[in-house]
């Protein structure tokens, strides 16, 4: 029964991957091979050159600030006592990542206009002025992306930095051991996480326009419409994005060496040896955890302060907002649920069971699993508009494809998978790296075929990470804006995150604040639940399939 189920799920996963990841990537590749009509069209004029440099500055600023903002969370994760506390901290750290990015732009525009001391100080410093726009973009993106740095550094420390630190401490003080022992050992993963943050900041088209910063992703949007020059919108995005894609390639090249170390992210079952004993240690751990919670819930705090200032009864406001965006709520929750469900078969396609002997078929499956992760990674780092326009090109035509595009959420769902399939795929792939080769070998000796090995050895090791990953994909789909803007089927209903993003451009509005808080509530609950799923809650026992 289990073998049959996993066969069906993997077949579904393959179909989804072909439609959501392979097809758009093929369109992008075909567009790239066709080339622009003339190179002059793709060249940077003085205005775009300025925008390009501003974008680089904002992305670099966001990367640096995210690294700084991640330090309390790194400390909290390192000092946390007990598995349950660490799981809660990881859940809190996930919250900003599953929050719609536009919320951070909106919150940083609201803050200087609020009457409290921080608001007044920001206003006095000119944070809300026109010249501070790139800084605002960097700060807002950093408050969104710091969890990437926090989770990566925590994982890197567990798997590389801790041992080096211990060794260095034998003949050096703590500071020297950190800078000369732990940090060099973590250099690869650190470069990877910085490259990922830089990439995400580079491609983001939702935060900069809200903080009135003119960056590449939103400035090329009107230019992209001039499709007559390029033949298709996808070609226009591709050839208008070449400087960004070049930067992305450079960042990806910087990321690769550290990625292998990061493959072990997520399966830590050994307690830290830095359990704080004594009052000072406990105080430091508490302080770091409080700072992490404050950073994670910062948008909620700012929005709640704004909602409280309106002095309207929250129940009445919530009822009004639920009715105002009723269609969007229904459509977005449906697509998020479908995306979470679809993430499971996609994740199962990325299970990499060790060969345990010369078996060409299992070798092929392992390469296929790695190819799934690589393709999903490529789709994830491409500008979302490029993926969206590729899907529009594929489906916006007469016949059944057009019906899927216009009447059903199928194409919207494919775009969500294209953007976020990397999450369950990477989680399944990295988790399956921990499967002992002896288990697979023994299963094969006992006469199990590849599907049975997958079901009996692979599945027990990855089901928790895949389930956790699918929850994260559901959250990300609920929050996605850039591709949803282009792909939502109007007859089915619009996206709530897009509707909120649209209204955020027009400043303070109580309905908008309340609706955003209503959206953040389930996202926070799910973000906290996801690590419990993939880590097995407070249970310290090793999962089945581990030595």
């Amino acid at each position: 029964m289990r073998v049959a189920l996993i066969r069906v799920l993997r077949a579904v996963g393959v179909v989804l991957l072909l439609a959501a990841v392979a097809a758009p990537l093929a369109v992008v590749a075909a567009t790239a091979l066709a080339g622009p009509p003339t190179w002059a069209d793709a060249a940077l004029g003085p205005r775009l050159r300025g925008v390009f440099l501003r974008t680089l500055a904002a992305a670099a600023g966001a990367t640096g600030l995210a690294l700084i903002a991640a330090l309390p969370a790194c400390a909290a994760l390192a000092l946390a006592r007990g598995r349950a506390t660490r799981t809660i901290l990881i859940g809190l750290t996930l919250v900003p990542l599953v929050t719609p990015p536009a919320v951070f732009g909106y919150v940083w525009m609201l803050l200087p206009s609020q009457g409290h001391a921080l608001g007044r100080a920001l206003s006095a410093l000119g944070f809300d002025g026109p010249r501070a726009a790139p800084l605002r973009a960097a700060v807002a993106m950093a408050t969104w992306l710091w969890p990437v740095a926090a989770l990566s550094i925590a994982a890197a420390y567990r798997f590389a930095g801790r041992a080096a630190y211990r060794l260095a401490r034998l003949d050096a003080g703590p500071v020297r051991a950190l800078f000369h022992g732990a940090l060099p050992a973590m250099a690869g993963p650190l470069a990877t996480c910085l490259a990922v943050i830089f990439l995400l900041a580079l491609n983001d088209s939702t935060i900069p326009p809200l903080v009135l910063a003119h960056t590449w992703a939103n400035e090329i949007a009107p230019e992209v419409l001039d499709t007559a020059l390029y033949g298709s919108p996808a070609a226009a995005v591709l050839w208008r994005s070449w400087p960004m894609l070049l930067c992305a390639l450079a960042a990806a090249a910087a990321a690769l060496p550290g990625a292998r170390t990061m493959a072990h992210w997520g399966h830590d079952h050994a307690p830290f040896e830095h359990d704080p004993s004594g009052r000072a240690g406990r105080a430091a751990a508490g302080l770091a955890a409080a700072a992490t919670a404050a950073a994670a819930l910062m948008p909620v705090i700012v929005l709640a302060a704004d909602a409280a200032a309106s002095r309207e009864l929250i129940g009445a406001a919530m009822a009004r907002c639920a009715s105002l965006f009723a269609v969007e709520w229904r459509a977005s929750l449906t697509v998020a649920t479908l995306a979470a469900a679809a993430a499971v078969p996609v994740g199962l396609c990325a299970i990499r069971v060790p060969a345990g002997g010369p078996t060409p078929r299992s070798d092929a499956r392992r390469y296929a699993a790695t190819a799934v992760v690589a393709a999903a990674g490529c789709a994830a780092v491409l500008p979302p508009e490029l993926i969206a326009y590729s899907l529009v090109g594929l489906f916006n035509r007469a016949g059944p494809a057009g019906w899927l595009y216009d009447e059903t959420p199928a194409v919207w769902l494919l775009a969500m998978l294209a953007r976020f399939a990397f999450v369950p795929a990477a989680m399944a792939w990295t988790s399956s790296l921990g499967i002992p080769v002896e288990l697979a070998r023994q299963a094969r000796c006992d006469g199990a075929d590849e599907s049975r090995v997958l079901a009996e050895v692979g599945l027990p090791a990855v089901w928790r990470p895949v389930a956790g990953g699918s929850v994260v994909v559901g959250c990300l789909a609920l929050s996605e804006i850039a591709a949803s803007t282009l792909l939502v089927p109007p007859r089915f209903g619009g996206s709530l995150a897009v509707a909120i993003d649209n209204q955020m451009h027009y400043g303070r509005n109580n309905d908008l604040v309340v609706t955003t808080l209503m959206l953040l509530a389930p996202l926070i609950v799910l973000a906290l639940a996801a690590p419990w799923l993939w880590r097995g809650g407070g249970n310290d026992a090793r999962p089945h399939g581990r030595p």
Binding site: S323, P490, N509
Partner: protein, 311 residues
Amino acid sequence: MRGRTLRPSAWLAVLLLFGACDRDPVTDAERVVKVFGESGLGPGQFSYPRALAISPVDGRLFVCDKTARIQRFDPDGRFEHAWRMPDWQAGKPTGMTVDSAGRLWVADTHYSRVIVFDRQGREQFRFGSQGTGPGQFLLPTFVGFDREGNCYVGEYGGHDRVSKFDSNRRFLFDFGGRGSGDAALERPTAMRCDARDVLWVADGCHHRLCRFDVNGRYLGRVGKPGTGPDDLNFPYDLEMLPGEPGGLLVADNGRSRIVEFDLHGRFVRAWGRPGRRLGELLHPWAVARGTQGRVYVLDSWNNRVQVVRWR
């Protein structure tokens, strides 16, 4: 057994009956007499158009999109002329009106001013500056006129009010303002004056229309947030229907439709639903009345204008 088979059929019949009663005998698509515009940056193409105005002098249309281009079309949608706003890096206009002399008044939202052009795009004059004092604006959204030629400018950004100027652009008074009271406004987005000198203001974020007299006194409101036929969801523009019994068209942006109310605020009918096909709309920002009973709907997310035979 009989009940089991009949009951669903009975329900189906009732549903069909109600559906048939609710439906206009002429479908939404059949009312469309013309469509023009498409995505792009060339002449006759749009990139998220958000403002539309029709000249009462010659029926020509002006459309402003998110590239800050203003394009002029003849009443049949043929492109004639285009120009760009003098400044546009900080943001693009969202409201335009043509006065009785054929001049185009543009609420230059992000530059806190109103600029007036002739039909060739030559600037005639401008007024307004950033601030919250008398005659100043934060983010002006529309310009409207009453029957005596007085000018009304609406704004948002924390000081959501309507300022009244005389025909020489001297500030007279303002009304509205932020808050939760009956007369309070939150992002007023359009204003029209009817034949009885009642000012109708689209109170965008309160999801209603407010009525004021020409002295700024609050008279009443129409609509509320919700999903009923007469409920509104971000009403962004208004247009008066002439003659008897008259009426009012509202661009209901959030629900992608045009709603007609009578002058007592009673729901008459709605046209359009969310979609990309003929007779379907995606977040319309503006509605304007042309000649020969035509209504022009700015179908913003579909980057086009649909010309509808309304009556």
